[in-house]
């Protein structure tokens, strides 16, 4: 007799994990992100060492090992964002989405499972990458007589960047369920990330002082990386958490509404 018991959200989560982990391109992107991120830090470190003797004294004094170490997150950030996007867009380009929603007609389960799988993988890979970058930087810069960062700050930075990347992947997954196209979604995400910085100088002064901090990117930085790097005054942790939660809720709600209303 047919077993009518609901397999539940756990089944969807395991299914989405199987999908994600069974693609070589996913494993390659995660591995490559870690390697290239650390390599970027190594390259900058090498450049610093090579020119160190010519640095003016005040610049040497201002040199912060930790800030330089995490330069590789530019690479990991973009790669993992694209990974989050393609995890969703490939369902549409292969037309497999029809099967996904036949197996799990409850749209909210598929959305939540994809978000959790991608965010967890992004968090772990980013933490590994950033830890690697900092370890390499400490090694490379050990010869300079600069004070090393204190351990507590290192842990906060590693976790902060990891959480930041994971939250960004939530955005990537939600947005791609709305747009369904990898190119469109990547373009929109890059616009969201760099748009404010590009447009900022052209906006009135009160915007930089009072408005900008409520945007998703700056709020996320205030939440996960307080006072890092030297940024304009942001929100306090509590306020930043509220603002980030509100932004993510908007994107998740848009994704869910799209999934429920639009034809697959």
């Amino acid at each position: 007799m047919t077993d009518l018991r609901d397999p539940g959200f756990a089944a969807t989560l395991r299914s989405e994990w199987t999908k994600f982990a069974s693609l070589r391109s996913v494993r390659v992107t995660l591995g490559l992100g870690i390697v290239l991120g650390i390599a970027a830090t190594g390259l900058l470190g090498w450049a610093v060492l090579a020119t160190w003797d010519e640095w003016p004294a005040e610049e040497r004094a201002a040199f912060a090992v930790l800030d330089t170490a995490v330069v590789g997150t530019l690479v990991t950030g973009v790669l993992f964002l694209v990974l989050g996007v393609t995890t969703v867009s490939s369902e549409y380009s292969s037309r497999m989405a029809g099967l996904t929603f036949t197996a799990t007609p409850r749209r909210e389960r598929v959305l939540a499972a994809k978000v959790l799988v991608v965010a967890a993988a992004t968090l772990v890979a980013t933490v590994v990458a950033v830890a690697g970058m900092i370890a390499l930087a400490l090694l490379v810069f050990s010869g300079l007589d600069r004070p090393g960062p204190e351990a507590g700050r290192v842990v906060r930075v590693v976790l902060g960047i990891g959480v930041n990347a994971a939250l960004s992947s939530v955005l990537a997954v939600s947005l791609t369920f709305v747009l369904r196209s990898a190119a469109g979604s990547v373009a929109a995400l890059l616009g969201l990330s760099f748009g404010p910085a590009v447009a900022g100088p052209f906006l009135p002064g009160w915007w930089a002082e009072h408005g900008q901090r409520y945007l998703l990117g700056p709020a996320m930085d205030s939440l996960t990386l307080p006072s890092f790097p030297d940024s304009p005054p942001g929100l306090g942790t509590g306020a930043a958490a509220l603002v980030v939660a509100a932004w993510l809720a908007v994107f998740l709600a848009a994704a869910l509404a799209t999934l429920r209303r639009r034809d697959v």
């Binding site: 009518l4 199987t18 999908k19 029809g98 996904t100 036949t102 197996a103």
Partner: protein, 297 residues
């Protein structure tokens, strides 16, 4: 049991499905016939809750598909066999599907074996032939051992052996008391499997009847007869009111008389028959008669 009432779907200006109502009952294979673009796939997508109808309802076991508690164990569907990610192997593909449906992963091996894909199960599906995709799609539909099956053109691209296997499979599934809805745009394909037929033309149901009834009502009623004594039989049948066209190799093409009457007349005259077949052409005539020719605008 599938119940469809007043289902309507338009895409922009195109009305794909137009007020369609029907029931699909368990225990027999129901053929869903219609020419290209007549709305078969759209109807199936609406039943599966993939597209949202403009009007009307579709339920499976009395419940809209989106509200089924264990969809893969209740309904097996094959819609678009090539809609799989090319970089996964068949085994991995079926594994994620089994996990999503709460189906034991050992079922994957069973269905792979059932459709004859075990040897190719670890290859990336991007290298599959059309027939192999079709087999994979069938495996996916059978995974949850469901009491209801919706199969959109399942024999498309299969070799003769594959076609025969699918026919047998459909008959067996129906004999086990399952509800089986199978679409096709070829009447002949349904001839040996479907007991009941739904014919759709330009988004509307134009016939909902048994296959036998359909051929009787709409077919030209031509019957192919083969006998060692074609001249004598031609005379006998002409006398009984048949319209007889002589063919090659001791064949006669008979109109105006049902197969049973031809057999009876031959027996009464002591003539041996080597073949007595209601012609496939007549089924196709019935179909064309109902839906007209060409793709709807």
């Amino acid at each position: 049991m599938i119940t469809v009432r007043g289902l309507t779907k338009r895409y922009g200006g195109t009305v794909a499905v137009d007020g369609v109502s029907f029931d699909v009952r368990p225990g027999v294979v129901t053929g869903f016939l219609g020419p290209n673009g007549s709305g078969k796939s759209t109807t199936m997508r609406l039943i599966l809750g993939l597209d949202r109808p403009g009007a009307g309802t579709a339920t499976v076991h009395g419940v809209p598909y989106r509200e089924l508690t264990a969809p893969l164990r209740q309904v097996g569907a094959l819609l678009d066999a090539k809609a799989v990610h090319g970089n996964r192997s068949a085994r991995r593909h079926l594994t994620w599907l089994a996990r999503a449906g709460g189906i034991p992963v050992r079922r994957v091996e069973e269905v792979l074996d059932q459709v004859g894909l075990t040897a190719a199960a670890d290859r990336k599906v991007r290298g599959y032939s059309l027939g192999m995709f079709q087999r994979l799609g069938l495996a996916a539909a059978l995974l949850g051992d469901p009491p209801t099956l919706l199969l959109d053109e399942p024999v498309n691209g299969l070799d003769p052996d594959g076609v025969r296997q699918v026919r047998r499979l459909l008959l067996r599934l129906a004999a086990e008391g399952r509800t089986v809805l199978v679409s096709s745009h070829q009447m002949a394909e349904m001839q040996e499997t479907a007991e009941h037929v739904l014919v759709i033309g330009r988004g509307r149901i134009v016939a909902d009847t048994t296959l036998a009834e359909l051929t009787r009502e709409h077919g030209g009623g031509r019957v192919l007869v083969r006998t060692p004594e074609p001249e004598r039989l031609a005379a006998v049948l002409a006398g009984a009111g048949g319209e007889v066209l002589p063919g090659t190799d001791c064949r006669l093409d008979v109109g105006g008389l049902p197969a049973a009457a031809i057999g009876d007349a031959a027996a009464a005259a002591g003539i041996t028959l080597h073949e007595l077949t209601p012609s496939r052409g007549s089924l196709e005539d019935a179909f064309l008669d109902l839906v007209g020719v060409g793709v709807a605008a």
